[in-house]
Symmetry: C2
Subunit: 410 residues, 2 copies
Amino acid sequence: MITRDDCEKFDERDVLAPLRREFRLNEGEIYLDGNSLGPVSEASSRRVNEVIDVEWAKGLVRSWNTAGWIDAPTQLGDKLAPLIGARPGEVLVADTLTFLLAKLIGGALELRSDRHVILTDAANFHSDLYIVEAMAAHARRPVIVKAIDRETLDEHLDTDVALVMLTHVDFRTGEMLEMKGITEKVHAAGALMLWDLAHSTGAVPVDLTGCDVDFAAGCGYKYLNGGPGAPAFMYVRDRWQGVTTNPLPGWLGHARPFDFEMHYEPAKGMRAFITSSPSVMALGALDGALDVFARAPMKDIRTKSLALTDLFIALVEEKLPAVFEVVTPREHDKRGSQVALRHRDGYGIVQALIEQGVIGDFRAPDICRFGFTPLYLRFVDVYDAIDRLVDVMERDLYLDERYMVRNAVT
Amino acid sequence: MITRDDCEKFDERDVLAPLRREFRLNEGEIYLDGNSLGPVSEASSRRVNEVIDVEWAKGLVRSWNTAGWIDAPTQLGDKLAPLIGARPGEVLVADTLTFLLAKLIGGALELRSDRHVILTDAANFHSDLYIVEAMAAHARRPVIVKAIDRETLDEHLDTDVALVMLTHVDFRTGEMLEMKGITEKVHAAGALMLWDLAHSTGAVPVDLTGCDVDFAAGCGYKYLNGGPGAPAFMYVRDRWQGVTTNPLPGWLGHARPFDFEMHYEPAKGMRAFITSSPSVMALGALDGALDVFARAPMKDIRTKSLALTDLFIALVEEKLPAVFEVVTPREHDKRGSQVALRHRDGYGIVQALIEQGVIGDFRAPDICRFGFTPLYLRFVDVYDAIDRLVDVMERDLYLDERYMVRNAVT
């Protein structure tokens, strides 16, 4: 039996506890949806207003130079790099995740022009599936996308495979794949590896260098707390820079952007992957949000994340035995920073729980999804969330007729 | 002889004069670079902070529905539509201009799959040239881009031409092309017409419906004052909606974005062209900026714009005879909302003038470029700007050795 007192003690010992103050959270609400949209940090709000009041209002067009707007995509990339085990000069912040995947897929196909297959996971996030199909259709040669059961990857890894594109942490189940081993296998088959880090970055330690990853991309608005529609990031291993082409080139990625040359010549390094400037306000919000991470080692984040998800799973099993199927793996090395519970009335359960002040989300057809962000969540929040979940189930609040028509939100 | 008193009288009679208060401008500075980056409006700042403090902070992930984030790209498109003579449901606000051009070029090529040539202007904005080349290279068939002298368009319009892509107002010279006549010619040749409205929107009246234009796109950060890296907009004539495909599809443009379907099925209307959500803060800034236009009929904007540029040209000729070549056409129907002056020491002149508090910009190799935004510029500003330009020229301030190494800004 775990008590609320136990949880209070966990919080007292929590080295990350002081960071909660950096975020604006609603009084009495327990936010378990930071894996969909992270909350506002004071640093984000401050930085956006600095962009507006100082850089944009006073500096105006001069701020491209004087406030460093022109370098923000690569500078912010360098700031983010340690969170994913990348080195300076390997990360760019820009656009949104789908566009960056498009650039990487298009670039990778050119690097393996003697091969014609892209392997991806049939359970991948749908946008990833759409863009990989689209980029294959627009390749300079016939390219086939095979969306497979990721458990069968070995069977499909042959000499036709140009690229393997997988998501590190499954957006539905929270299962985390073994990045190093899979990347090694892919390389052994002569293919390139692209990891989608949407549900990893800022949530679990990632070591792109140590895993010898070729390409990666992720978004800024989930665990990074960069704000709705935040710019995304992409990673190109140094060995592929200057070699991989950007299929969506733009003036800001030109070697001499202010010479207005008629023909495109890519800039050196990650700048070549810039198309145009992302919103500087949006970059500012992410910049502020990353400041918080500077005070939170990924090791501590991971330790607390596992403790939070362990606690949540233990409480579900203790207080609601046999009510839910815990879809997320129990093994720590296979778990991201979320817990997925399966229930055929999942939509109603999530909605009723939201009305009780516990914000999770629903993923069709039957997944109740709860994200755990160590930067601002307390152990007592987990305890109280389960208390309210028990209440929702015992009082049948989830069977309300309002929930019969599903109308889910991201 | 035009006197400063004359200009003060023009300002007294100016129906748009009260709008100047809506903008944050630096005391004593004359901003003639709104064609590169518009200034902050109070409405933009207010709206961004509302997004942060209310929608993001309090609403959190719920705001996708409750604050209408999910519909913001199309709703903002409808708000912008009157400025370009588009109808509701024909405009989408998203991404940046180059990405939207990519979508339109890719889509148009599929509509004219029996043709293999794209015509564009060799003097087009360089990013437009890069992306059209890239999209041609990634077409499903061999496609050639011909970057021609736009004066020779007639000679090139044959039955091979799938698409003509031109910029309505030349970013260097400020020359405005005759949209209706050119579009008619292009259609007569069986080709599709794509207009880049970067230097038109919010500056000159545009009538996409009246000119029977197929596709158009423009940016949000110039005359629209949407902020640095603001989302861009695209227009698809209603007849092409549901027919033109989006070559860069994403989950938010799916018919059922929350069903997480493995295969892409485009949403109806302009939503099909959404890839992912743009920054909601960036959308907010543009939203606020568009509020100002609701109080300024395009007719009045155009009348004042021509008066401002006429005045500027007249003062240049009166006070600095034979010093500059006025590159921008004198004819009103061929002039956008900027004046380009050619001088071999253009870079130094623009820099010296900036130090005197008049912000223009330089476009290689020899263009001093001055944008005129009727929403906040006064006639006395034009007078004073010329006064300072005369000072720069008479005192040879532009020959300072600091300006010998060119280091231009967008």
